[in-house]
Symmetry: C2
Subunit: 255 residues, 2 copies
């Protein structure tokens, strides 16, 4: 498996609240996990502020570099929601009132409730396809390879569910995780050799620090179930040779 050979994706988080530290992001992991499950390689994440040129530049760069881009945040009705106009600018198309989006908002809010502020959420870049939103009715949209979603996790998750069937993935990336109470420096040399001997799989080493002691999670990733098993067994032997007890977390879990 080479990450470079498969379809790739990037996430663009638009929001001052993540950059100020006020809010803990919960969207990256959700989107990333779904991409891994359908065999798309998540290659890059950017978080940018609610400032036009940051959004335009990031949309252009990520759209050009990857098969799919997913943005979250900035599509509500308030003054600091500036995603739609800047995505339109990135693709040099006008932002206009979308009839279908207006109909969705009208069905939800009624004729009386269709205020000027709510109609802001019907402003969609020309030519974009809408993404339904079953939580608050205000749609996201898809333009070229960029999927523009809400920032509220519950709404983003609903929108992503609608998008997933349209994406062209590859073979799911399978993984095993083996943990042990060794430090990385004890493992490093043999682990590097194991990686060299098995260049078709990806072996990652992720140290953790918990309750005053260090350990490491070793992760084997590949699309081939038999290779996953073979390299995981070799990894477990390696840990045992070094005098520790390997603990396999789950078998062939998608991660």
């Amino acid at each position: 498996m080479s990450m470079e050979q498969r379809e790739t994706a990037a996430i663009l988080i638009i929001g001052n609240e993540i950059l100020s530290g006020r809010t803990q992001d919960r969207n990256i992991q959700h989107i990333a996990t779904h991409m891994t499950d359908i065999g798309i390689a998540m290659m890059e994440v950017r978080v940018v502020p609610d400032i036009p040129h940051y959004i335009v530049d990031a949309v252009k760069a990520l759209s050009a570099a990857h098969s799919y881009v997913f943005t979250t945040g900035g599509i509500g009705p308030t003054h600091d929601d500036i995603t739609a106009e800047n995505v339109a600018a990135a693709f040099d198309v006008p932002l206009e009132e979308n009839k279908d989006a207006r109909d969705m908002l009208q069905a939800y809010y009624g004729d009386e409730g269709l205020t000027k502020s709510r109609l802001r959420m019907a402003r969609i870049p020309k030519g974009a396809k809408l993404i339904p939103n079953q939580v608050t009715s205000a749609p996201g949209f898809i333009i070229e390879n960029v999927h523009v979603m809400a920032g509220v996790p519950r709404i983003m998750q609903d929108m992503l569910t609608h998008i997933l069937p349209s994406l062209q993935g590859g073979a799911p990336i399978l993984s095993n995780t083996v943990t042990c109470e060794l430090t990385e420096s004890i493992l490093a040399e043999k682990l590097a050799q194991l990686q060299l001997d098995n260049v078709d799989v990806e072996i990652g080493s992720y140290p953790y620090y918990s309750s005053g002691s260090l350990g490491v999670s070793l992760v084997v990733r590949t699309t081939e179930a038999d290779r996953l098993e073979a390299v995981t067994i070799a990894l477990e032997s390696l840990v045992q040779e070094l005098g520790a007890a390997p603990k396999r977390m789950e078998i062939a879990k998608k991660s």
Copy 2:
């Protein structure tokens, strides 16, 4: 307060484990909160994989654009720890064994324990200044305006503590948060006017969805305590005019 006028910062997270969805990032919010506290504007975050050109390109771009850059991840002893060599490449300096880093590792592991793998962690870009690490002894480093730290949150936090006194911040950014059970579309028009009437403060609107109901957190940010109080009171009046009960979360909390 203009975000553009103050010192700016960016975070670069280096790690496949975040991009695969395996690990929930816990470093962005920690670093961002500390920057806000000392009056540095966090402008951008990027997450990139363990692939050389991604690291080199991101270090170059972020270092050129911001006063400070903070990287996390990829400085351990294993084969997938490639941050040091790629930061060196970004600044076109050699990576070499640093005597002080070697001494730190030797003091911790002893002469016998100073293995080839552990010595990998003494390879530091020429001219860089070390960042101590009281958890595992392997240092981070500072080169130009780039601060290279570990990815394990406990170790990163220790390193950041050492770095903070050396940063040139500005007046702390003060904030108040007012929550209410209104939807953003009800608030949007009056809120936009309040922002227009008070261009020296930043007013953010962050919807949330909890237990089946929507609400919104309204955040006022400025460095001036009197302006913070005045605009917060105006915001509370606005919410009351719309028939809801404003709830001020904390007074003049740094956020």
